[in-house]
């Protein structure tokens, strides 16, 4: 086997869906990788300890979305230790810390400064910073100003914005994101009133960003993560989603990243593999 083919098969084995027929390449991964229940569910071998999870995960996927950076401020030393466990070609998307999105009672400018400092070691392997805004973050003058300031403060980083509230689904919002070269996150979630809809709008041709949250309507409002993200996509649902949205997104951008957030009982990695195989077959 020559090097090129071998390189391709390694990339393929780790889940990169290559460019094909005008469709851009796609990197598929999951939201988070360090879940004890993924050992129980068989994704990680029995007895896998937390420090061993990232290298094992990187054997299967080329990219991961870091969830823990939402819970606590990102710290350079911790990030450096984590990067060392993954291959050089492995990519990360890092969530913006909740003190800048959901709980803004602290001095957000100071928090932003800390975040910029903390993420520095990741810069070479950073696919995007994910700015996930809360459901009560509506399209108001104050919130628009805040978001504009936040995007200004993060200038220079690849950015993706996920809205949860439907009021942001406006052409003016998309135009502004386009002007700023900021990616609008495409979300697949439960069909509930008030939630931001699933759209194939590409505001940044450099990359698109997809998050599959699962479609558990009851669990979504339970306040319990185990219920909220307990959903498994069927092959048919993923095929329909590909036909309706993914093909369109792939035609509009240079590359794409797709994450499955339905982590409960390791449904996310199973669905990520399912989508990958589906795209390979095409």
């Amino acid at each position: 086997m020559n090097d090129k083919v071998q390189g391709h098969s390694c990339a393929a084995a780790r889940g990169v869906v290559e460019r094909k027929d005008g469709l851009c390449p796609v990197l598929i991964g999951t939201s988070g990788y360090s879940y004890t229940e993924w050992v129980d569910s068989g994704f990680y071998p029995r007895g896998t300890r937390a420090p061993q999870m990232l290298p094992l995960y990187a054997d299967s996927f080329p990219i991961v979305e870091l969830n823990y950076t939402w819970y606590q401020m990102i710290r350079a030393e911790a990030i450096s230790r984590m990067i060392a466990k993954a291959p050089d070609s492995f990519l990360f998307a890092a969530k913006l810390t909740r003190t800048l999105t959901h709980e803004r009672e602290r001095d957000w400018r100071q928090e932003l400064k800390r975040y910029r400092e903390g993420i520095k070691p990741l810069q070479r392997q950073l696919a995007a910073i994910l700015i996930q805004l809360p459901p009560d973050f509506e399209w108001t003058r104050n919130n628009r100003c805040y978001l504009a300031q936040l995007l200004d403060g993060l200038q220079g980083f690849p950015l993706a914005v996920e809205f949860r509230h439907v009021s942001w689904a406006k052409d003016s919002v998309f135009a502004e994101l386009q002007r700023r070269q900021v990616t609008l996150v495409t979300v697949d979630g439960p069909s509930l009133p008030g939630l931001f809809p699933c759209l194939d709008v590409v505001t940044n041709p450099s990359f698109f960003f997809v998050r599959f949250h699962g479609r558990n309507c009851q669990g979504w409002q339970s306040g319990n993560m185990q219920k909220k993200f307990d959903y498994s996509y069927s092959a048919q649902e993923l095929q329909q989603w590909n036909d309706r949205y993914l093909v369109s997104l792939r035609l509009q951008a240079e590359k794409g990243v797709v994450f499955f957030n339905n982590h409960v009982r390791a449904q996310a990695p199973a669905n990520a593999v399912l989508l990958r195989e589906l795209l390979w077959r095409e």
């Binding site: 300890r49 937390a50 185990q226």
Partner: protein, 389 residues
């Protein structure tokens, strides 16, 4: 063995935080909590602003007043703090029965290992709890998550008064290495001094020493230092019960004392009060702690434990004296002492099956019953324990 997930919740300056909930005008002032009626009162707690001005726990109140002249001085209300602690515990208990609480000081350790299928990942539990406690109680705890109590406690110290810290499994030693030794829990001032003499000031430097090297200067404590500096701690989270998880009594001496007899007499009197309360509440205590404050403001805490617990004044007194001998290591006079009885359990009414109690124990039990009858009829000061020389 499965990696553990230990959450440490800590409401900083707990007494002040509770007082500020009662009186919101206190938010605008530095606050010092100290018994004002005592002749030589010591600071019980202080706000972050007062701390910034140099006020410390155990400091003499008159000195603290000089350091922070604008501070509002409040008399401690331990019952109020105990109630607030009970409310905090009630929020945490639905997540895990493995919950260890300090005194009414806003500290909680939770072992949430294995609860992920019910409640999701441990960081999410910690975050939700903090949000719930803030929303429903108005208290804003610091939280940290690590694989053991020691590391989670250090992590909390890193971010207080506000924030959170997650230390990943396997990263304990690297996390601790750059930190100053003073952040490592459980080190006495004497041990810190000795480490300074060896030119060690970071935890990572201590972790480079072998067991044998530590055994020479630190003897029995060498093993603890060896493990702690590497972030190793297998001590379990010990459920401390709910509501009043401990009983404590405090005594301030009229003048600083170095008289062992006087100190033992005071502890005996305090034990009587606590022992009677235990019997009234149908509980037994498994641990007695003695906290001494020396005349120079420095403190020392040591404990003695009794497996299975006891409510017998004679046994409790023995434990207190053992703890006292462990705590009183300096040739410095004592200003005040606090006696704490914790790890409380409900008293079992069932007789032991095989181990028969000695005649002496039976005799002591009769004496206790008789003393309780006297207390009930003539009041708490009517009869006291004494020792014959």
């Amino acid at each position: 063995m499965e990696d553990r997930s230990i959450i440490h919740l800590n409401v900083t300056d707990f007494a002040v935080a509770v007082e500020r909930l009662q009186d919101t005008s206190l938010q605008r002032h530095p606050v010092i909590v100290a018994p004002q009626q005592a002749a030589r009162a010591l600071v019980y707690d202080m706000s972050e602003e007062a701390y910034g001005d140099g006020v410390r726990k155990g400091m003499r109140l008159d000195q603290a007043r000089r350091y922070c002249r604008r501070a509002r001085i409040l008399t401690p209300r331990p019952r109020l703090y105990r109630r607030a602690m009970g409310a905090l515990v009630a929020k945490v208990l639905p997540y895990t029965p493995l919950l260890e609480q300090g005194e009414e000081d806003g500290h909680l350790f939770m072992d949430v290992t294995g609860t992920h299928r019910l409640f999701g990942p441990a960081p999410d539990i910690a975050w939700r709890l903090r949000r719930q406690v803030l929303k429903e109680l108005g208290l804003d705890p610091v939280w940290s998550l690590a694989s053991n109590k020691l590391v989670s406690k250090v992590a909390s110290r890193m971010v207080r008064p506000l924030g959170e810290y997650i230390v990943g499994v396997g990263e304990e030693a690297e996390f601790l290495a750059p930190l100053p030794l003073s952040l490592l829990p459980g080190l006495s001032a004497q041990e810190l001094g000795l480490l300074r003499d060896f030119n060690l000031d970071r935890i990572g430097q201590l972790a480079q020493l072998k067991r044998e090297q530590l055994a020479v200067p630190f003897q029995g404590r060498g093993e603890y230092l060896y493990a702690a500096s590497r972030g190793q701690d297998r001590t379990p989270v010990i459920p401390g019960g709910t509501g009043g998880s401990q009983l404590s009594r405090e005594h301030h001496f009229e003048g600083d004392t170095a008289d062992p007899g006087e100190l033992q007499g005071v502890l005996t009197a305090l034990i009587q009060v606590i022992g009677r309360q235990l019997r009234q509440e149908g509980k037994v205590g498994q641990r007695i702690g003695v906290r001494l404050t020396y005349s120079d403001g420095r403190g020392a805490v040591r404990q003695a434990t009794q497996a299975g617990g006891t409510d017998n004044d004679f046994l409790l007194r023995q434990l207190a004296l053992t703890a006292l001998s462990r705590a009183w290591q300096r040739r410095v006079r004592i200003r005040s002492c606090i006696l704490v009885c914790d790890r409380l359990l409900p008293r079992s009414r069932q007789q032991t099956l095989f181990v028969l109690r000695s005649a002496r124990e039976l005799q002591q039990e009769k004496v206790m019953t008789a003393m309780d009858a006297v207390y009930a009829r003539f009041g708490s000061g009517s009869i006291r324990l004494g020792t014959a020389c």
